[in-house]
Structures are given as structure tokens and as C-alpha cells.
């Protein structure tokens, strides 16, 4: 059958079925089973009202149960079996941990989890604050937001052109290499490729140090759990600062390969960042839209008071606005974190995990559909589930708090 016709029939059947189901169920409930007349009218109405929510909810619960709840348990049980279905306990997990590709995926995923949400949120906040103050702000917002509509695969094609590399004797087609070829070690190369990035890294380290200092200083002698969390935070910041410092030093001392077009996607470690850039490009618009709404929600009088006290625009932004929208920033951060954990298309389309760019979701896809190893694939999926679980709990906890 022609698929278009098939689709039309399914839409009609789906809509008709839905409406038919609800109409019939209500009719049965109100007119046949518990009619609102006769001797037991009160009891009947009450009973009908007790049953009705479940009639309305049934199709949704059915789908949610089969398509989301059941697979969590089915995958868990699959992850404990080998590819032939025999129970092997945690065998898949230990085999997986022994695989270098898994370690690589986990490391890369950690990198993605730090960089992408942070960069998207920072760019989004910057864009939100800046576009809110200018006349053509809405147009600018639309244009920055536009990548949200583009598929991850489409975005991969778009960025692959940017990263394209040709032999040095040919004209460069990729924008990044065309720019790169302009550098030859002179003043601008020094400024743009060494001093500026190093300055950014130093700024990041300083920001981290300030955050760590604020954490250390904040209310000593609080609850033990809070102190432990704070301690962990400080340790993480210290580790990050150490890594960033190493990069900064590397940047200042490295002999950069001027004059040679770079294979951006095939340079181990750094190629991860070129892949992440694609997701940052897509997610910044999302962060911007939500943060800009939050910024508009900041009460005017707090800003006015700050202005009267002589605060400059930077102080207003960092001391008045950002603290007031902290909740929204956390929501944006978490949402992007979830996207990062699921992302698979970008890596599949651009490098397919070669050159040390593997991530968990693509690793899992590899195991499932290339090696046909359901056990290992399920184990990898469970690792992703384990990584989202804290967010899941936090979400549910927040939702319950709100409903009270």
C-alpha cells in the first residue's frame, strides 16, 4: 500500500479510535453502568466519578507502561544475560569495563557533561542579557535560536563543512582551516592563539577559585552532609583548575603547526571539543530563550535600588540578576545534561567514534546493532540510566515539593 495512504488511514484510525474510545467509555459509564437516575443516583454518580479518571488515563498509562517503564526492567534483565539469553550475572559489566573503548566513552562523556552544559548556559546567559537590551534583540534571538530546529544530523553536515580540510596546495573549503592558514606565527597569531586562550583559561581558574573560596567560607559548622558536598565541590574545582592550568601552559609553550591544514576531527582529544561545539551551537538558543524569560522576571525595584546605590552594569548582572535566576540556571543546566547523555547522532555522523571520540550512547548503539551483543548493549544502556538517575530523583523531588 502507498505509505501516504497508509499514514492517512492510521491517523484517521488513531484519532477516530481515540475519540471513539473516550466517547464510548464515557457513554457506558454515564448511561449504562452507573446511570445518573433511578434509585441509586447519588451512589452511581460517585462511582462513575471514581472510575472516570482511570478511563481517561488508561491509554496514556498503557503507552507509558509499555514504552518507558517496562523497558527499564527488561533492559536490566537483558544486561544480566549473555547474547544467547543465558544468565551470566554481572559478566557483561565486567567485560565492558575491561574494554578500552568503554573507558574512552566514559571519559569522553564526562568531558561532554562538563563542557556542553557549561558552555551552552554561559553563552545562553550572555546572549539573553545582551539581546534584552537592544532594539533588534528579537531578530538576534531568532537567529541564535534557529539551530534548535535543525536535526543533529543536519547540524553535523553543516559543521563538517566548517571543519573540512584539504591539502595545503589546494584552496581550503573549510572555514576553520581557511582561518587557520592565515596564521603564521606573527603578532596576531601570538595574540589570538596563545595569549587570548591562555587569558580565558586563567579567568576560568580565577572564577573557580572564587567559587571554591565562597564554598569554603560559607557557614562553617553547618550540617555534616552539606560540608561533605562542599568539600567534594572544592576538590572538583581544584582538579579542574589543575587541568586548565596544564592546558594554559601547553598553549603558551607548544609549537603550533602553522601553514599546515589541520584535520580537526582526527586529532585525538581535541576533536571531542570540535564535536561538542556542534551541540553547544544547538543548545545555546534553548538556554538563551529560557534564561531571557527569567531575566525579565527579575523584579525591577531590586535593579533600581542597585542603580541608585551606584552599581555598574556588571555588578547589576552578577550580583543582582544572576543570583535571582539561579533556579532557572539549574533547570537549564540539567535539561542540557540530559540531552548530552542521550546524544548519539552527532558522533555517529561525524566520526562514528573513531579517533578516540566514542561516547556512551554511540558505544551502546555499536554493541546493539553492529555486534548484535544485546547483553553488552543493555549494560551500556544501564550505565546511561545510572548517570541520569540523580537527575531523575532531583526532578521528582522538585515536582513533589512544588505540588504541596
Amino acid at each position: 500500500m502507498n505509505p501516504a495512504l497508509y499514514a492517512l488511514i492510521v491517523i484517521l484510525l488513531g484519532i477516530g479510535g481515540c475519540i471513539g474510545y473516550f466517547w464510548t467509555a464515557n457513554f457506558l459509564l454515564d448511561k449504562v453502568l452507573f446511570p445518573a437516575r433511578g434509585a441509586n443516583i447519588g451512589r452511581n454518580i460517585n462511582r462513575a466519578n471514581m472510575v472516570r479518571p482511570w478511563v481517561f488515563l488508561f491509554p496514556a498509562l498503557f503507552f507509558l507502561g509499555i514504552y518507558l517503564a517496562y523497558p527499564v526492567f527488561a533492559t536490566l534483565s537483558l544486561s544480566l544475560n549473555d547474547r544467547n539469553g543465558a544468565f551470566i550475572g554481572l559478566g557483561n559489566y565486567s567485560r565492558m569495563i575491561a574494554e578500552p573503548k568503554f573507558g574512552e566513552s566514559l571519559r569522553n562523556n564526562m568531558l561532554w557533561l562538563v563542557v556542553v552544559p557549561a558552555a551552552s548556559t554561559v553563552f545562553g546567559l550572555l546572549a539573553a542579557q545582551l539581546t534584552d537590551r537592544i532594539r533588534w534583540g528579537n531578530l538576534a534571538k531568532s537567529l541564535i535560536f534557529m539551530p534548535m530546529a535543525i536535526s543533529f544530523v543536519g547540524a553535523s553536515v553543516i559543521w563538517k563543512l566548517v571543519y573540512d580540510a584539504r591539502d595545503a596546495s589546494l584552496p581550503q573549503v573549510g572555514l576553520l582551516n581557511a582561518v587557520w592558514m592565515q596564521f603564521g606565527g606573527g603578532f596576531w597569531s601570538l595574540l589570538l592563539l596563545r595569549i587570548l586562550p591562555a587569558a580565558i583559561l586563567v579567568a576560568l581558574i580565577v572564577a573557580g577559585a572564587l567559587a571554591a573560596w565562597a564554598m569554603v567560607r560559607a557557614t562553617p559548622g553547618g550540617k555534616l552532609s552539606a560540608n561533605v558536598l562542599r568539600g567534594i565541590g572544592v576538590v572538583i574545582i581544584a582538579a579542574l583548575a589543575y587541568v586548565l592550568g596544564g592546558w594554559g601552559l601547553g598553549l603558551l609553550t607548544a609549537a603550533l603547526p602553522y601553514g599546515r591544514p589541520q584535520l580537526w576531527l582526527q586529532t585525538p582529544f581535541w576533536n571531542n571539543f570540535f564535536l561538542m561545539m556542534v551541540l553547544v551551537w544547538i543548545q545555546t538558543g534553548f538556554a538563551m530563550v529560557i534564561l531571557s524569560a527569567a531575566l525579565r522576571g527579575v523584579p525591577e525595584d531590586t535593579i533600581e535600588a542597585a542603580v541608585l546605590d551606584g552599581a555598574n552594569p556588571f555588578q547589576i548582572f552578577f550580583r543582582i540578576k544572576v543570583p535571582q535566576i539561579r533556579g532557572t540556571i539549574v533547570v537549564v543546566w540539567t535539561t542540557i545534561t540530559i540531552v548530552v547523555l542521550k546524544v548519539f547522532d552527532i558522533v555517529l555522523a561525524m566520526t562514528n567514534g573513531q579517533w578516540e571520540t566514542q561516547v556512551l550512547a554511540n558505544y551502546m548503539y555499536d554493541k546493539f546493532f553492529r555486534s548484535f551483543d544485546t547483553g553488552m548493549g543493555s549494560a551500556a544502556a544501564m550505565v546511561i540510566m545510572a548517570l541520569v538517575t540523580p537527575i531523575l530523583i532531583w526532578n521528582v523531588w522538585n515536582a513533589r515539593k512544588e505540588m504541596r
Binding site: I11, F56, A149, L161, L175, G377, V388
Partner: protein, 378 residues
């Protein structure tokens, strides 16, 4: 806020400039692909897309002379044009070591009494006392300025005469077939559930809402294998019905969450008045709730449509890979693998696949933003 304390004009300038830089950075990658999709393969290879609008002087790929031979008395002559476009030659040569040895209208001695002349407009004359029959004709290296040139041939190629198994037109229809039912069905199912969760009182409601919020986060990677096995067991297998059901299931938590958040905010009086007037719940839902919830329904519809249109993973797993079921994203991934360097094909295909989402995005942006805000900010 802008006029609270008299903005400094320098700062206003800095802000405008920063936003301009940001916007340019954000649209440049897409612009590059769009421009490339309208250039011919040769042009893409010979210069970056950012030079597409300018006349450029560049060394061209070598051109081997062809043409029919004529005789003028004792000399044998081949005359013709090197280019089909309006390029202007500024220098030319006959060996790769000296590609710019001659100026236009100069004559090069090819040895054996034969000679070659190339004019500024690319017309050439090759003459020799002996016949060219069977001889290897020389290659000409040119440095020429070519005017900007755009073409829609790439689109014509990918849509109407694709490589075997890579039919974009068919994939476009397949994608449409996937995304429309996968948008419509979850909305209906979710709307009823959201109404029940928002306006009906029953035990376990809070728990149910919490569960749905939790399911929002469940990665769909988890669902792939068990569901594929399930589909095979009950006989749906890989096909459209399976993917519609899967997208419905995966889209529901978000749909219910968005719609419930919206419906809770609807005025209580209207619903209670209707109840008092004897309307059944079904009538209330269809005649009051649905029309009032239109903004939320629209915003979810846009989300779900974009999501199903742009999806790759679910389609790879639940649909066959044959030409009759391959979706645009899958098609594009295959193209990237097989024709990774053919930017004229890749860019045109990519633009066919992102045209519909961009259209939806720009025409329905208001609803999209409203939906995002309803879902994320309290």
C-alpha cells in the same frame, strides 16, 4: 530598564557589537552550507564558499584541449574555447611547473613546429604542420578570474536523479509519513490524561504525576532492544506502525507534563459551571478544555513534529533501511559515509532535510517559545 539611569553610549555600542558578533558566529555555519548548495562541484573545490559572491582570480584545474581538426592550407588547426563560463584568463602555461608562463594572446611553441595561442576570453588556437590524428593533445594551465555563478542543479540532482538507494524525494515522503501520525496521536492521548491529572480527584494522583516527571528523564536508549523484541513478538516488526507507537510512547511524558501544567491554570469556574449545567466530562473536555488549551497543544505539536522529523535513533532501530522506509536523517548519514567529500550533493541534501523544520520554526516560533517556557520555568 534601559532608561533608568541614562545608558552610556559606549556601552550601548559594545552591546550592539557583541550581539552582532554572536549572531554572525551562529549563522555562519548554516550560511556556508546554504551557499555551497547553490554552487557547482568544481566551484566548491576551487574556492571557499565565502568567496562565492566575488569574482576571483585563481589557478584553475588543468584543461586538456579537445576539438575537431580543420585544415587551413598546409597547417592543421584546432580552435575552441577553454571555458563554458565567462572566465577571463590573466596568465596561462603548458606545464605544471610553469602554470603562468604566458600572458594572454602570447603564443607558446610546443615543439615540432606546432604552437598554441590562448586569448584573454579563453579561446585557443592550436596549430601544427602535421595532423593531430592519434596524438595526445596538450594540457593548458590557466590562471583566470571567474565570475560568481550559482545553480540549482544540485537540488535537481538530489531530488530527481539520485544515486541508487539514496532517493531524497522518497525519504522526504517517508519522513513525513513517520512524523505526522507520530505527532497527532500522542497529543490526543496526552490531552485526556492531562485533563484527568489536572481536574479530577482520585487516589494516587500525586504519585502518578511524580512518575511522569521521572519518566521525562528516562533515556530512550534503554527502550530500544526490549521494544524491538516486543514488536517482533507481537508481529509488528520493523515498520511504520512500530515507529508511530514508539514515538507516541516516548513523547507522552513531555506531552502530559506540558498539557497538565497548562490545564491546571485554566479558570476553575468555567469547568464547574459546565458540570453544574449537566455537561458530561467528555463534553467538557471536547467543548471547553480542548479549545482553551490550544496554545499548549500547538506548542507541543511543534515540539513533537520537530523531534520526530529530526530523529535518527528511533528510525534506525524501528524502521527498515529499505528505500521505502529510509528517513531523511538516515539518508543523510549514509551520504556522509559514501560521498563525504561531494559537498554539492551533501549540502543540497542537508538543506532538503532541514527546510521543513526551519519553515515550521520560523512560522511557529511564538508557540515554540511559549511551550519551552511552560515546561521549564516556574
Amino acid at each position: 530598564m534601559d532608561n533608568i539611569a541614562g545608558q552610556k553610549s559606549a556601552l550601548a555600542w559594545a552591546v550592539n557589537l557583541s550581539v552582532a558578533v554572536l549572531v554572525i558566529l551562529w549563522i555562519i555555519p548554516t550560511a556556508g552550507l546554504l551557499v555551497s548548495s547553490f554552487r557547482s562541484g568544481d566551484q566548491i573545490d576551487s574556492s571557499g564558499w565565502w568567496q562565492a559572491f566575488a569574482t576571483q582570480e585563481a589557478q584553475q584545474a588543468p584543461i586538456r584541449i579537445t576539438g575537431a581538426e580543420t585544415t587551413e592550407g598546409e597547417t592543421h588547426v584546432i580552435a575552441g574555447h577553454l571555458f563554458t563560463t565567462g572566465a577571463t584568463v590573466s596568465a596561462w602555461g603548458i606545464s605544471s611547473r610553469e602554470p603562468a608562463a604566458f600572458a594572454p594572446d602570447e603564443t607558446a611553441d610546443l615543439g615540432g613546429g606546432s604552437s598554441l595561442t590562448v586569448a584573454q576570453d579563453g579561446s585557443f588556437t592550436l596549430s601544427s604542420p602535421t595532423s593531430f590524428e592519434g596524438a595526445r593533445l596538450p594540457r593548458v594551465f590557466t590562471t583566470a578570474a571567474t565570475p560568481p555563478e550559482f545553480t540549482i542543479d544540485n537540488y535537481r540532482n538530489v531530488i530527481f536523479s539520485p544515486m541508487a538507494g539514496q532517493s531524497i524525494g522518497q525519504a522526504f515522503l517517508n519522513t513525513l509519513t513517520v512524523s505526522i501520525p507520530a505527532t497527532v496521536i500522542p497529543i490526543l492521548v496526552a490531552a485526556f490524561a492531562a485533563y484527568a491529572l489536572a481536574w479530577m480527584d482520585f487516589p494516587g494522583r500525586a504519585l502518578l504525576i511524580a512518575t511522569i516527571v521521572g519518566l521525562l528523564v528516562v533515556p530512550l536508549q534503554l527502550a530500544l532492544i526490549p521494544l524491538l523484541q516486543l514488536h517482533n513478538t507481537i508481529g509488528i516488526g520493523k515498520g511504520y506502525l512500530g515507529i508511530w507507537l514508539a514515538h507516541t510512547g516516548f513523547g507522552l511524558p513531555m506531552a502530559i507534563y506540558l498539557l497538565r501544567n497548562y490545564m491546571v491554570g485554566l479558570p476553575k469556574d468555567i469547568i464547574e459551571n459546565a458540570r453544574v449545567d449537566g455537561a458530561t466530562e467528555f463534553q467538557i473536555f471536547v467543548k471547553i478544555i480542548l479549545p482553551l488549551s490550544f496554545p499548549a497543544l500547538a506548542s507541543f505539536a511543534i515540539f513533537q513534529f520537530l523531534w520526530t522529523w529530526n530523529d535518527l535513533l528511533v528510525a534506525l532501530v524501528f524502521l527498515g533501511t529499505g528505500n521505502d522506509q529510509q528517513v531523511l536523517t538516515g539518508n543523510l548519514v549514509n551520504l556522509m559515509g559514501s560521498r563525504g567529500g561531494d559537498w554539492e550533493i551533501l549540502s543540497a541534501s542537508a538543506f532538503v532535510s532541514i527546510a521543513v523544520p526551519l519553515l515550521v520554526f520560523f512560522s511557529m516560533q511564538r508557540f515554540l517559545v511559549r511551550g519551552l517556557l511552560a515546561g521549564s520555568v516556574k
